[in-house]
């Protein structure tokens, strides 16, 4: 099909072995003039080596302060069909369980009211519907809510759409009901999800076990990661079967051929805390030294399983590298049972938000605020005692913070003079 605009540079992106987004947009351009103009605008951006989108503006549908990201083209004279090209974020079902019927319906609605282009899924987890006009926002929202029972997700300075791993629905290692936790957060904090109130974005992500399949520790301001506080369950017969070559290691992830597992080299020596021992017949684990890295369980899934006294570790402060560089979450609550109705968790969340709202600067993520004011201030605000599990090496990193008010006589110190001698 002949396109309205010549796209020699974009055409280069169709070559090679990988699927091409250019091919996808061209396919859609046969039915949607919006997609033709999108290709033309993109080609022009490549030619000029600068973007032609003006971002910002509209935020949502009536009563909502998020879920729509306004995008406008700065050359509507050349590309009138993408003069408005707003993005809609649709809250995905927990763990992304859809029926094919729901997905077809979602695509039909989008093709009727928007460009038909989707991004399934965005890094927030939402279904991203790319490109529609302002007058179509309310009709789309009406059909999403009435025909599909789906809602818009979070954007801007809102709580963002919470995301969880597949959890107990399909994973034998999950220590948490991640779907229920995500549903609870979504419903409990509807106001925070749809109406902006924070200094910046705030993300929750829940992983059922320390394998952390949704990368909560790297991406969420509040990461909920499943763990256990009793012992790893061991089936010694199955351990011997791995060593004897009767079972395929790693659940077949690295090849299905049967081979003898070198348990010393592949498991024991790779344990980060050296908390395991193999005497040729039995595997011994000193669980008190285990840091829940999951390596041994991943290698021998038929022999080892997480314990049965399960719950979650709550970590805070992860973010991507926009202002201060990437940051991983830090352990704040080493173990919480995380059982419905999750009251303990809600209390923690609300204390955390109050502190962030009172002290956070504009566009300052929770992790950056903790870094600026210190972990001690954060722990005081959320009423959690310092714990050696919050840090990497307790003997080297001081984790007990004395407050002058708590010590008889107190003391005074000149923080500015200290910083002159010890640069941060």
């Amino acid at each position: 099909m002949a396109l309205k605009h010549a796209t020699p540079m974009l055409d280069e992106l169709e070559k090679g072995p990988w699927p091409s987004f250019v091919t996808d947009i061209k396919r859609m351009a046969a039915r949607k003039p919006m997609c033709e103009d999108l290709l033309g605008l993109l080609e022009m951006s490549y030619e000029h080596k600068e973007g032609h989108w003006k971002h910002g503006g509209i935020v949502g549908v009536f009563g909502y302060g998020g879920g729509v990201i306004g995008r406008y083209c700065d050359r509507p004279d050349l590309f009138p069909n993408v003069a408005h090209f707003h993005t809609m974020r649709v809250n995905q079902p927990a763990s992304k369980f859809y029926s094919t019927e729901a997905l077809r319906k979602l695509c039909d609605i989008w093709e009727e009211h928007g460009s038909g282009l989707t991004n399934m899924h965005g890094s927030t987890g939402d279904c991203i519907l790319l490109g529609t006009t302002t007058d179509q926002l309310e009709p789309i929202f009406y059909r999403l809510t009435h025909e599909l029972g789906m809602d818009l997700g979070g954007s801007g300075s809102n709580m963002r759409t919470p995301e969880g791993c597949v959890g107990r629905a399909r994973c034998e290692w999950s220590c948490l009901d991640t779907q229920d936790i995500i549903y609870d957060i979504t419903i409990k904090y509807q106001d925070e999800l749809h109406r902006p109130m924070f200094p910046y974005k705030f993300k929750f992500k829940a992983s059922g076990c320390p394998n952390d399949c949704v990368a909560a520790i790297a991406r969420a301001d509040c990461s909920i990661i499943g763990t256990w506080r009793d012992k790893i369950r061991i089936d010694q017969e199955a351990v011997r079967a791995y060593v004897g070559g009767e079972l395929v290691p790693n659940g077949g992830s690295h090849g299905f051929e049967k081979r003898k597992l070198d348990i010393q080299k592949e498991v024991i020596d790779l344990c980060p805390t050296r908390c395991m021992e193999w005497d040729g017949k039995n595997l011994k684990i000193w669980d008190e030294d285990c840091t829940r890295c999951m390596h041994c369980i991943n290698v021998m899934p038929r022999a080892l399983r997480p314990g049965t006294d399960v719950g979650a570790t709550i970590l805070c402060g992860a973010k991507a590298p926009i202002l201060e560089g990437a940051q991983l979450s830090s352990v704040i609550i080493p173990f919480m049972k995380m059982e419905p109705p999750y009251e303990e968790f809600h209390e923690f969340v609300e204390k955390m938000w109050d502190w962030w709202m009172e002290n956070g600067k504009n566009r300052e993520r929770l992790g950056e605020l903790i870094q600026r004011l210190g972990l001690r201030e954060f722990l005081k605000a959320v009423e959690v005692q310092p714990d050696p599990r919050m840090i990497n090496t307790p003997r080297f990193n001081p984790y007990i913070f004395y407050d002058p008010a708590d010590v008889p006589g107190g003391w005074e110190r000149d923080a500015k003079a200290y910083r002159e001698r010890h640069h941060a």
């Binding site: 302060g65 003069a83 954007s155 300075s157």
Partner: protein, 78 residues
Amino acid sequence: MSEEAKAKILEYMKTQKKTKLYFNDLCKAVPELKMREAKKVLNELVEEGKVKYWSSGSTTLYMLPGEDDVAAEEEKMK
């Protein structure tokens, strides 16, 4: 109380040089209110159409309906 706070916020917005303001900045207009209460007042102002949201996609700001308005910008495109 709510009406008084609304008036203070609107007055504050009118006296600022910037057309778009962060939530934290608007809270300065009503220091007697807790942040969550201030947010409720702002939501009411948005519902009444006296204040509008503006979002870059990652951050949300508040503005008075006026010239620097998305609706006005869209009108120009027609």
